[in-house]
């Protein structure tokens, strides 16, 4: 375990921690503490997640009948648009970086806060402000353009709150950029002595890669959306052919961001996944360097494949061919990670706690999500599958099966650290299984339905009743998934009130965050730690022998004495 000058283990829970240091509302709303901002973010993304899930429930309810009986078409269109906008801009993009990134990036690298605490707080305020704008837009008529905002529909034809939502998305973009700047600066400049790049936990690597994508991509989509606004408000000819513009240009600009945006949502989940696998298999991740660099590779290559969303958009055959080829090549680094996680399990000492359940279901779901992407990267099959429910199923496997599962895994893993309380492991395990089953039942039928040609964004399908059985299965699954998502809200809240107090390291995990009390004190570390050991420094062989000998599990940190390192470290040199 990372040596610190205060022995971490068995340290009594500190009297004062970041949660009870101050109690006023003001102390929360004007805080500079990255942990408090993370909690603010946790509360706000959860609210938006509830809104988005409720909208999803409406969609699934409506589609059980082929003739669209409950909602008006106009309302239905607004509901699915709102579901997309809320889930993507207000949940998936900020969820992991702004909650776990904010909370844990400084701690895992041994820093007292992020590099720019006030920027961090500003990012939360921008997020909230954009969220309020979006909610106002949804309540005052809503928006019906689908989250993709394709012109000329969005710029010339839609009579809904396009302007307000675009402004909201624009502001929301700044909030992610602020967080990204903070994470990059912090990882570069504030690593504790001894915390070299290759001692960074993989979660830090993937947050770093994500932040790079955010900074390079978000301005492009922000400006593109602004151009839509200009066209809408001032008839500035950009995208609408009526005015002399080019509607396909928008799609290029939009997907230039929105393909990498997929990685903004999934890379952080990869990071959490690596943490969970390593810490619960109690073994250093297989091919650490490979996984670290593949995050960067994905971030870079993600910018050169956007055209795979446009195979039937009228882009030329040559463009399509190049984009398809590149997409196939990019798919490989993601695939590697799956192999690496699985290989890590080999010869580990696997502890099956609730977070590990999520990590294992992530492997299954993300494998399917990733592989079905190859059907869509394939120009031949994409012609038929694009814009059908096959796409819907594919990206939900990636976004829900990947990003949401990662989020839940991270939440269960770090909950004791963040709030100092233990939840019921059994309840959490059962929930993980319910979520897994509910998820598959919801989205697997959509693959079949999509292959059969069911278009997405259809309000009804009475002219094609053959799809109904799949819609019904999907809606049943959604109810189960809904139950699986309500349960954590119950037992996690319960743990806050009645839960057992968590020790500093309830999982016996490795990493600087587990060397400080739960919940951490405001300054994280009373003394900045000096890192001397490698990342995920477990010893499966010794641990195993100890197990066999019937001894208590011996944590590496207990045997280690604080040591000082005098030689200048890599981090020190920078």
């Amino acid at each position: 375990m990372s040596a610190t000058s205060t022995p971490a283990h068995d340290q009594p829970v500190a009297e004062k921690n970041y949660l009870n240091a101050q109690h006023t509302v003001r102390s929360w709303l004007l805080t500079g503490d990255h942990k408090r901002i993370a909690v603010l973010y946790l509360v706000s993304v959860t609210i938006f997640f509830i809104v988005g899930s409720f909208l999803a429930g409406l969609i699934r309810l409506e589609l059980m009948s082929p003739s669209g009986t409950m909602l008006e078409s106009e309302t239905y269109n607004k509901v699915f648009t709102a579901h997309g906008v809320v889930m993507i801009f207000f949940f998936l993009i900020p969820a992991i970086p702004a909650v776990f990134g904010n909370f844990f990036i400084p701690i895992v690298i041994g820093a007292r806060d992020l590099a720019f605490p006030r920027l961090n707080l500003a990012s939360w305020y921008l997020y909230v402000f954009s969220g309020i704008l979006a909610v106002i837009a949804l309540c005052s008529g809503g928006i019906d353009t689908a989250w993709t905002f394709y012109p000329p529909y969005s710029s010339m034809y839609s009579n809904s709150q396009v302007t307000l939502v675009i402004v909201a998305a624009f502001i929301n973009g700044f909030s992610s950029i602020f967080t990204a700047i903070n994470i990059i600066a912090t990882i570069h400049k504030m690593r504790a002595p001894g915390m070299t790049w290759f001692r960074l936990p993989l979660m830090a690597w993937s947050s770093y890669a994500t932040s790079v994508v955010v900074i390079l991509g978000t301005p492009v989509v922000a400006i593109t959306l602004l151009l839509v606004l200009m066209e809408r408000a001032f008839k500035l000819p950009i995208f609408s052919p009526e005015l002399g513009g080019d509607p396909v240009l928008f799609q290029h600009l939009f997907w230039f961001y929105s393909h990498p945006a997929v990685y903004i949502m999934i890379l952080p989940a990869f990071g959490i996944q690596s943490e969970l696998i390593a810490n619960f298999a109690r073994k250093r991740i297989f091919g650490y360097h490979f996984v670290a660099f593949s995050s960067l590779a994905i971030a870079g290559l993600g910018f050169v494949v956007w055209g795979h969303h446009m195979f039937v958009s009228s882009q030329s055959m040559y463009e399509s061919t190049v984009f398809s080829l590149l997409t196939y090549l990019v798919a490989v680094p993601s695939a590697i990670k799956i192999f690496n996680w699985t290989a890590t399990l080999y010869k580990g000492n696997i502890r099956l706690h609730a977070p590990m359940y999520y990590a294992l279901s992530f492997i299954g779901l993300f494998t399917i999500g990733g592989l079905t992407g190859l059907y869509l990267a394939n120009m031949g099959t994409d012609i038929h599958l694009t814009n059908t429910y096959f796409i819907v199923a594919h990206f939900h496997y990636v976004m829900v099966g990947g990003a949401l599962t990662g989020f839940l895994g991270g939440l269960h893993y770090w909950w004791p650290k963040m709030f100092g309380r233990l939840y019921s492991d059994t309840a959490a395990k059962i929930t993980a299984i319910i979520v897994f089953c509910g998820f598959n039942l919801t989205f697997f039928p959509q693959f079949i339905m999509g292959y059969m040609g069911m278009p997405r964004r259809y309000h009804y399908y009475y002219f094609a009743p053959e799809y109904q059985i799949y819609h019904i299965l999907s809606s049943l699954g959604a109810s189960l998934l809904g139950v699986g998502l309500i349960l954590p809200a119950i037992y996690l809240t319960h743990s806050l009130i009645k839960g057992e107090k968590a020790s500093a390291n309830p999982w016996g995990a490795h990493g600087l965050e587990w060397t400080i009390p739960s919940p951490p004190p405001t300054e994280n570390f009373t003394e900045i730690p000096i890192v001397t050991d490698e990342v995920y420094d477990f010893d499966p062989v010794a641990e195993h022998e100890a197990n066999l000998a019937g001894k208590e599990i011996e944590l590496p940190s207990e045997s280690e004495q604080p040591t000082k390192v005098d030689e200048p470290t890599e981090a020190g040199k920078e």
Binding site: E74, P241, M317, K347, G364, N378, M379, G380, Y458, L548
Partner: protein
Amino acid sequence: MWNFSVMPPQASTLAPEHDAIFLVLTALTLLFTLIVCVTAVFFVIKYREGTKADRSSPVYENPKLEMVLTVVPTILGLIMFFFGAKLYIAQRTPPKDAEEIFVIGKQWMWHVQHSNGVRENNTLHVPMGRPVKLTMISQDVIHAFYIPAFRTQMYVVPGRYTQIWFNATKTGNYHLFCNLYCGTQHSEMGGTVVVQTETEYRNWLNNGGQNAAPVSMAQAGEKLFNKIGCNNCHGATDSPRAPSLAGIYMSKRKMSDGTVQNADEAYLRESVLRPWNKITMGYGKEMPAYESTLTEEEVLSLIAYMKNPGATKGSSVSSGTSREEGLAAKTDTKNGLAVNAIEAQTTDPAATPTKRRGSLSVGAMAAQKQTEGQK
């Protein structure tokens, strides 16, 4: 609802190829998912904390294994890419002898014009066993023309032509969907593709589909050409006023900036709507821009006319030699008043196999209103 299928009907020459790739991908997906899941579960059981499994000499890096795991999927991926690209290129390269049909998408209906002038809405009659090429354009927002049974789809974009082609292999009725979200009644924007045998189709066409006495696209174009005065400038031979348009289709045109343009549909469209963008060598900006005066239907008919080798020579198109003109000649050519009345009025509901909600005329009126609203 309980006798469900897992596959859409397979009704075009390229559909089996599509399904073959789909099945191979499915096999690979299942194989890899199975390998990953079985290994993961196996490891979890075997190496659960406290089991007696051998844990000596754990592996943390194994570049050789990683190389293998990188190279093998890459090669498999490239093979799939190759077959996909082959299919895609086939899907987007219509054969030369394809029957040409024009499609106009508008909120929220499909308007189809066969080359002999027969029109239909939300229904597309096509012959079996012969390639059919659709030239499509949208009058308002972007739509997507999607026929699952043919495994084919293409966006229908305002301001530019897009094309798809297919060769149907089975008679019957198939779904036609708009597959790109286009506004309130998006779900309503579909209909039926009716595949008929060649003779049935010919009869249907010659009987004017559901509307009597059609005028062929090219004839309509000729009428319009003379009516709005294109013929005042464009004559049988190049003149100081304007170049001749005889045999212009697919010829190489020299521009005044020195470039050479291929006179395909897109070029012709641009030359009529925005002639000053590409000026023919030796001429100036004399030609007026027709951008705001012509409807998409009118432009399509002008293009159909200009594709005729004898166009602007003064010879009537009905004497042309191509199959379409031959067909058109059989129909009553005297009755040409429908030229500018290309509105959404034609299809006999009884002939629409799947009756869609809201009668067609209501849809048409809505479409009308929408366009008026825009102006």
